[in-house]
Symmetry: C2
DNA sequence: CTCCCTGATACCCGCGCGGTATCAGGGAGG
DNA sequence: CCTCCCTGATACCGCGCGGGTATCAGGGAG
């Protein structure tokens, strides 16, 4: 049985990301030769070639691609172990709730109120995330629970309880012809040439192909829409970040989005359970 | 940011399991002093006390208990990374299916037939498990897919697709009065003093309290039932291992058991997806 | 043909990990 | 009350390995 050290995994991931030993070494704060040697030893120990180096380019082999994925989840698990242990050991025992900035603002407000009013639930810190960051933070231990969205977010390794489901709205510039509409369809908004949909980064940080502008943050897209350069389809409850220059129009045929409260698939502590319970109870109240 | 090495985690887990530095060191194949030092350094690095040592006994602190849980999942992830990488790199690319020995025998038979008949699906090796072992093997990479049972198995970190649901039967000795019955209730069988239910080990290896005999394997319990010393409630499809000395009686009010095909929550490769698809298709055929 | 880019090799040094020997403190038994 | 022993902590040492610098090697570009 081979066993890998997290140091080796970290080295491997750096090279797999950069596909360049020199740059990877620099990122790791070390020299290139020991890095080359470490990777070589790793390959020897596993008995598997991880990179194809043909003098000018470095590429992942199939096995390397597998390790790339696996190593990242393993490193996340190790980091989570460290962070959760530290948090458990320190007097301050607030749990961390991750949520997309601007999303479900009023629900979150009421949830936090309910939690702080209830003596049973622990203190909660809120950390605001961009796009799909909640899952990352749950996985590496920087957060304990999160508000996430089905089906848009990535739930691998994450459990969740449904809170509420809502339709989506298109956010368009107030001075655009579409702004006068009562309701639109996906077909209509995807065929507007002067208002392409903004492109969000995928999990690996790259962008899908398409005509729309590349954005990373909510305020970037808010700005772009206000400038009349893009439109956006989001859950209705996200409207909290709308500016006067924005108009929200219900989209009749966009898939509904379910807001869920999510936690890492393992480690369901009593504190986390209390918060989940508070959230589901609140959702029941709001539904009735 | 602290980062833990897998070596340290392994040391910690050994001590957490044994609650005894000397024995843990022996299990690890090392001397006790370096182990003590390693744990001490770990505590220093995390800034958290992990064990309460009061000269005569070693106990986990709250933080230690957290790390115990987290470290085991992290180590599983690391081991899985190594194993899956090795498997991906070697010419032989069979995927490994874990199943409880004796359970759902005919379904499995047909599934394997369907898979080997289909050129699209990969080769499949079958590994037979005792009780809840499938989840462990999925988590540490020794298996890629598994047949598991809801609600009895532990699905933390594991995704699954339902295959079929069935009622449970009580297995009793053929010479016992109950053997003549057409149908029994849970109440009836739990109040038979001379036929206690066998006790299976919990996830941590210990046994729940109770009058029944402790068993670890299917053949142990099969033997015990044949000897008239215990009874057992299992899904109807598990009857494959019945001996002539066994009689199966439907239990009217036992919770139904759903057999599912399961895989680790991350890493859903094309090969695994093909096997899952074959299994769900087969279940559809069998249901109609 | 030459230069340069990039990964591999050679070699050295120092830290850290693991080993042995020993200490320290407290519980149990006479 | 004293002693023995059990168990974890401390002290100290040696060496292996991880990381550094210098250099090589091979192939693409101009």
């Amino acid at each position: 049985m081979v066993d890998l050290e997290t140091r080796e995994l970290k080295y491997f991931v750096a090279v797999a990301k950069e596909l360049h030993f020199g740059r990877a070494a620099e990122l790791l704060g070390m020299a290139q030769p020991p890095l080359s040697r470490a990777i070589k030893q790793l390959e020897a120990r596993l008995g598997v070639r991880l990179f194809d180096r043909d003098r000018r380019a470095v590429a992942l082999t199939d096995a390397g691609a597998v390790l790339h994925r696996e190593a990242e989840t393993a490193l996340n698990a190790v980091a989570a172990a460290a962070r959760r242990t530290q948090r458990a050991g320190h007097p301050r025992r607030a749990i961390v709730l991750a949520t997309k900035a601007g999303a479900a603002h009023d629900t979150l407000q009421r949830l936090l109120d309910a939690i702080s009013a209830d003596a049973e639930t622990p203190d909660v810190d809120v950390v605001l995330c961009e796009v799909g960051e909640q899952a990352v933070k749950l996985r590496d231990g920087r957060a304990d629970v999160a508000l996430m969205h089905r089906p848009v977010d990535d739930f691998a390794g994450i459990d969740a309880e449904e809170l509420f489901t809502e339709r989506q709205v298109a956010i368009v510039p107030a001075n655009h012809p579409l702004a006068a509409r009562e309701m639109v369809t996906m077909d209509e908004i995807s065929s507007v040439p002067d208002l392409p949909m903004a492109r969000w980064p995928l999990v690996d940080g790259s962008y899908p192909a398409g005509p729309g502008p590349e954005v990373r943050t909510q305020s970037q897209i808010a700005h772009l829409v206000a400038l009349g350069r893009a439109l956006l389809v989001i859950p209705a409850s996200s409207r909290a970040w709308q500016w006067p220059e924005h108009v929200a129009i219900p989209v009749s045929d966009a898939p509904e989005v379910t807001t869920v409260i999510a936690w890492p698939a393992h480690s369901r502590s009593r504190e986390i359970a209390a918060v989940i319970l508070a959230a589901t109870r609140l959702a029941d109240v709001m539904a009735s």
